[in-house]
Chain length 457, copies 2
């Protein structure tokens, strides 16, 4: 381990620079114009894995490619760890809100600001560089390592299910290791043991062939904008409850122990509100803010558009209106059932005066990991060494489609180490990762490989 | 009148050529690059009015200039008619959709195709040339004529209110004569006696400081997109009725006579539906399509935007959501009162979990002309002589802010003669005016001057 840490120490600047090189690539998976950028980005990930001493390949998936790597077998009966991450990123959004360009990584206040710094390029690379510290520093790996770094996580991992099933032997492992979550707070690195599922829908309404003059034609044709508002309003009550019939049927209330642990967490509600900047917090009646985030299902409008959206006034009846709406699900909710219930509710609320089309962009189950596995215990020890702080056990409102998939196809549970901060602006402007967390992450990952390798299988 | 018609007959080709000369000028008021073209165009209008025998001047307005002309007093106690029109035009739009260049007037199928042929250069000139037929043919005018031809109609007549108030004495008149509307159908010239008012609003909701990850934060903060849907849904019932408290309070039901006239109009509902291309017609229960267009108030979403509006899925809670909503009002509805009722309803529907701002882009009253005035009666006789067809009395769903303005400032009612066709592609590609309608328009205008002049004041 000394050699491993020595290699780490002598390569800190290099690791940081290589992270920045990866962050310069605008690998926005949602936008087809960036197709080539994604492939180039996969190429650089492959290069880093090769440098770490693994056999790495770019694999076709039917969509953006994935990078698959394998160290090959190691001596002794060691567990196999599959590191999962993603090199694709969210769209940059409104450029005017960024203090530095999203794809020109910039250091400020000890952090690197760039789209993907936290989600997930920066966090993912901690495990790649930790492998390099072992491979180059100690000359060997303490366990067999595999990497699967995909390029479609931000578009609901569209091709990953098929890919995983097609490559189940190559991906076979005892644990999946993922850093695509966050610490509980600064200096409180977390082990996330549960994530929500998601069902993401797009409602498309089409009325007249083209935008119409709202004076000449108003009142005689159904307005897709008016109807969209009615449909969305019918799905969600003003008090914060979801109004889709059957939505809560399979939701399990939290057990007394878990609830007590959750309520005991030092959650700074005032700080949270201040950080978000909204007038007040709001959510489902009868639950705390942490419960709403982690263990209660939700429904959110993610996007709305129709008609004239420029400055000032234009008197059109829009020919089309589009609403993107997603639901976050908790364990025991069947995402297929929720998907159908959503479609049924939308169809019931939509009159025949417009044409309705519903697109489904994602149907993913929630996931809950066991807390008492050897992997989870090794992870806890690694974090306490890497960060000098005990891990906080948390759940997460986000979704990781790969988790239920890996459990189902590979039979492996996932270990989610969160190195980023909760306020690191994932999906928003000015995303960042603290350099000290990036570096503690590399050390933690190196400790984890060593701890779990020492345990044996 | 014989001399007038003789002059008309001998100058038909000349009038057509002079209309084409005016149409060659790209007087696009929305585009500052055409500023000089507008001034040149005003100069040619002035020249035509001078040729007709009027004293004409180019007047500064603060924006594009207006042309103001006056024949001076005539013998006897004759009414004064102010012809209002505009020489500015809409942008040409997509040039690929035009079958001949928009500013090279081209004859096809008995019509002149060019931007502004119908809206409003061609129609406006009928009244200029009719004045010339009187002045040059008969050597005198049968009544005092004034012209106000503005250059900003297509940009919401930005300076007209101030100009009208500043020149109320010069503009003083008994009737305003306007041809900027359409026939009811081919061979069915129309007198438009009512237009709707409009109140145009923009609802701005602001929640969190920036877009948030809908997984990490969903369920804990109010979503401006969800709330916008609820607010809009609260303003408008699914059955097509407006739900703003008090909205219908001042709406007057159509009288039996007017309703009978309206119901007797040969309105081609199937053709109308086919033209619009929506699955079916839809509107306020209990009213026909023409009633909904012309005599019932409406509420339409004109634009919606918030969150992620690009391709595919992005899981954000939008920090902002914006809805543009306008209402078309009927006579007796007070636009200020409706404006306040709208704001009140929106505020009542908006929770304190987001910040609300309401912008007002327009507050314009409806206008209804009396059908039994001497001017309206003279207009009907003139149309039946000029076109050889009785006028159809129609209303219009659009709004013309100048009409209530002229009524308020000058105390004059407006007479709207429609010579263009409803499908003459106003604001679209391949705008046209039939030459026979242009010529019938000149004759009709000449008859009108004569009829109203003969009536006396």
């Amino acid at each position: 381990m000394d050699q491993v840490l020595a290699y780490y120490e002598s390569h800190r600047a290099d690791f940081l620079n290589r992270m920045k090189d990866l962050l310069r690539m605008p690998s926005i998976s949602a936008q087809s114009a960036h197709k080539d950028d994604l492939r180039k980005c996969a190429g650089l990930v492959r290069q880093y894995l090769t440098t770490a001493g693994l056999q790495a390949e770019i694999m076709e998936t039917g969509g953006h490619p994935a990078v698959l790597a394998d160290s090959g077998p190691v001596e002794g009966d060691r567990p196999v760890v599959l590191v999962y991450g993603h090199y694709d990123v969210q769209p940059e959004g409104d450029l005017n809100l960024w203090h530095s360009p999203p794809f020109e990584p910039t250091e400020r206040d000890g952090a690197v600001f760039a789209r993907g710094a936290a989600d997930d390029k920066g966090q993912m690379l901690t495990h790649v560089f930790a492998a390099e510290c072992w491979g180059k520093g100690a000359g060997r790996l303490p366990l067999r390592l595999k990497f699967l770094i995909e390029g479609e996580e931000e578009v609901a991992s569209a091709h990953l299910e098929g890919f995983t099933k097609d490559h189940r032997d190559q991906l076979a492992c005892d644990y999946v290791l993922i850093s695509d979550t966050a610490q509980f707070g600064p200096g409180r690195p977390a082990l996330t043991y549960g994530v929500k599922g998601i069902v993401y829908k797009e409602i498309l309404l089409h009325g007249p062939t083209q935008n119409l003059h709202s004076g000449s034609f108003g009142g005689t044709v159904a307005n897709p904008g008016n109807i969209l508002a009615h449909i969305i309003a019918s799905l969600y009550q003003a008090d914060g409850r979801v109004a889709i019939p059957g939505f809560y049927d399979d939701v399990v209330e939290l057990g007394a122990d878990e609830k007590a642990t959750l309520m005991a967490l030092p959650f700074d509600e005032a700080g949270y509100l201040k950080e978000l900047g909204c007038p007040k917090l709001f959510g489902e009646p009868g639950y705390s803010t942490l419960e709403r985030r982690w263990v209660r299902p939700t429904l959110d409008v993610n996007g709305l558009v129709g008609g004239y959206t420029g400055e000032g006034a234009s008197t059109v009846i829009p020919s089309d209106a589009v609403g993107k709406v997603s639901m976050r699900l908790v364990p025991a909710q069947d995402p297929q059932k929720i998907s159908q219930a959503f479609d049924g509710a939308v169809r019931a609320a939509c009159p025949d005066s417009v044409q309705l089309k519903i697109l489904t962009h994602g149907v993913v189950a929630a996931y809950l990991a066991p807390l008492d596995s050897a992997g989870m215990k090794a992870a806890a020890r690694a974090i306490s060494r890497g960060f000098g702080a005990e891990p906080t056990y948390i759940r997460e409102g986000g979704s990781l489609p790969i988790l239920p998939l890996f459990k189902e196809v590979l039979g492996a549970d996932s270990i989610m180490m969160g190195f980023a901060l909760p306020n690191c602006n994932l999906h928003g402007p000015n995303e960042f990762l603290h350099i000290r967390d990036f570096e503690s992450g590399i050390r933690t990952s190196a400790y984890f490989y060593g701890e779990l390798g020492t345990d044996g299988r």
